[in-house]
Amino acid sequence: MLEILPQIIWFSLLASAIYALVAIGLSLIFGILEFINFAQGDFAMVGAYLFFGFVIEGGLPWWIGIAMVVIVAALMGVVIERITFKPVRKSPPFIPLVISIGVGALLQAIMIFKFGGSVKSYRTEGSKAEVYKLFGDTLSVTQSQITLMFVTAGLLLGLYLFLKYSKTGTAIRAVADNQDVAAILGVSINKTIGIIFAVGTALAAVAGVMIANEQNLSITMGLSLGVKAFAAVVLGGVGSLPGAIVGAFIIGFSENFIVGLTPIPSSYKDAIVFGLLIIMLFLYPNGLFGAKAEEEARA
């Protein structure tokens, strides 16, 4: 059984990278605006379809396609935020949660209307995956998998630097910490939240493109992605970006290792991941990196 270990590790890395990409965007929005955004997975789906429209159908070169996807997705994020989430920003968090459910369903309907329901993929005729054999044939890796890894690492690093050092990045973290205080200090809340949504949506869209390139794209691909990304964000602790990444890796590795090394068939994947999540939350009620606020409610 051991000889398949390298392959399983590589697959776990792949799955974790995909969850991390979606989880990061979710953590930005979720951590700051404090509501579970059910439409986050669908933002990824829309990104995948936009790329399909621009590049596969539209014939644009892929790098223009990616740029277009990021711009359109960012705009979409801001527009959705202004129309649907801005009016309820002050209401209890379950209101935007329900609205995000509606937004997700709406995006799916629009995509079926535009692209039709049948499942598509980026692979055109005869594009055969180049397979590289490593570690003496025990590990086979493809070009698209490698690009996915690099793009993910690049985006995570870019986001980290953007948040840490850029002006808007600090503004975002300020708003994340305390909206009212940030407002008093002259941070334009509207602009910052708009940027948060733009960045969060664009990240999800790129994640969608990466995932579609690696697998295929369907109208309902967003849902299970979004839910696993939630689990990663919450596992890592709400509001902590490194936490979301660690959470994504925990899910990616546990899924593949448990299924890979035990007789449990992979159709139990969801049950395993969420069983693990509930147990972890029971042990770490704040998530691994979550704010350790000791509240009186705790006693």
Partner: protein, 299 residues
């Protein structure tokens, strides 16, 4: 086209659906509206109740035995989900309970020798009680409304009793409730078990109404979103809110069937209509039709 209102069979079916949706909405409202616990796992109780009821009924047991067995099975599931998650903070409860929905969905598809997995269970009979057959639609309509009304009265008594008042104090401010000597964990578990119990009752009448349960897309996210909409739209924390919510949501859900839509667009346009009405109502009437402004996701 006006024969909708004269056509009894259609209206019987319509209001039969409304019956168990009211019961499902009310049971979810107990834990979500009154205790303030965002339970995204309610559809799991519905599934467990349905499978337990159906399997026992198909083995020839008496209707009431099966109905209560389904409800008790769901209540036990309520305990199982409640114990590890009740101490968690808001978002963590949301994602942990959503995880429960995924676990139940995964198990119901995989345990094929119990639930027949994706093949579902067809040919579920309608009961004969004291020699009276409830097979015809109008008879079954009476049965489901009888069960709904009796359960509704019990739930009303519970929620408007001193016990119910304590649930509301827990929702309003559980820390204060503690200092008044209330063992809030016990109340939460009781509320959770009762909420799951009545979901189990509704599951029973649902199963014999449709006479087929299971299959890949049953008891999953679309059904969960329907229940969430009923409670949120009706108004969390309001008994009559869930009743009105169930009627309104079902009118919307069935109403879209009658919109004059060109053949190729039926699917997407119906989904888009339902989603946008949901979003609009939650923006302009966030408390729902009759709800109080309830802090469901207490920090």
């Amino acid at each position: 086209m006006f024969e909708i209102f004269t056509n009894t069979n259609y209206l019987l079916g319509f209001f039969n659906n409304v019956a168990f949706l009211i019961l499902l909405g009310l049971s979810l409202n107990i834990i979500m509206g009154y205790v303030g616990y965002l339970n995204l796992g309610h559809v799991g109780f519905w599934a467990i109740g349905s499978y337990t009821y159906t399997i026992l009924l198909m083995q020839g047991h008496d209707f009431f035995v099966c109905l209560f067995a389904g409800a008790i099975a769901a209540a036990i599931a309520g305990l199982i989900l409640g114990l590890p998650t009740l101490k968690l903070r808001s978002h963590y409860i949301g994602i942990a309970s959503l995880g429960f929905t995924y676990i139940v969905h995964s198990l119901s598809l995989n345990l094929t020798d119990i639930t027949r997995g994706p093949l579902g269970i067809p040919g579920i009979p309608r009961p004969t009680i004291f020699g009276i057959s409830f097979q015809p639609n109008h008879m079954y309509f009476l049965l489901s409304w009888a069960v709904t009304i009796v359960s509704g009265i019990i739930i009303y008594r519970l929620l408007h009793s001193p016990w119910g008042k304590i649930l509301e104090t827990i929702r309003e401010d559980q820390v204060a409730a503690k200092t008044l000597g209330k063992n809030i964990f016990l109340y939460k578990i009781q509320a959770f078990i009762i909420s799951a119990f009545f979901a189990g009752i509704a599951a029973g009448i649902y199963s014999s109404f449709y006479q087929y349960i299971g299959g890949t897309n049953s008891f999953f996210i679309p059904q969960l979103l329907l229940l969430l909409t009923i409670v949120m739209l009706g108004g969390a924390g309001s008994f009559w809110g869930s009743v009105v919510g169930a009627v309104i949501v079902w009118i919307m859900y069935e109403g879209v069937r009658f919109l004059p839509i060109e053949a190729g667009l039926v699917g997407p346009v119906q989904q888009a209509t339902y989603a946008s009405v949901l979003v609009l109502i939650m923006i302009f009437r966030p408390r729902g039709i009759m709800g109080k402004n309830v802090k469901i996701l207490q920090k």
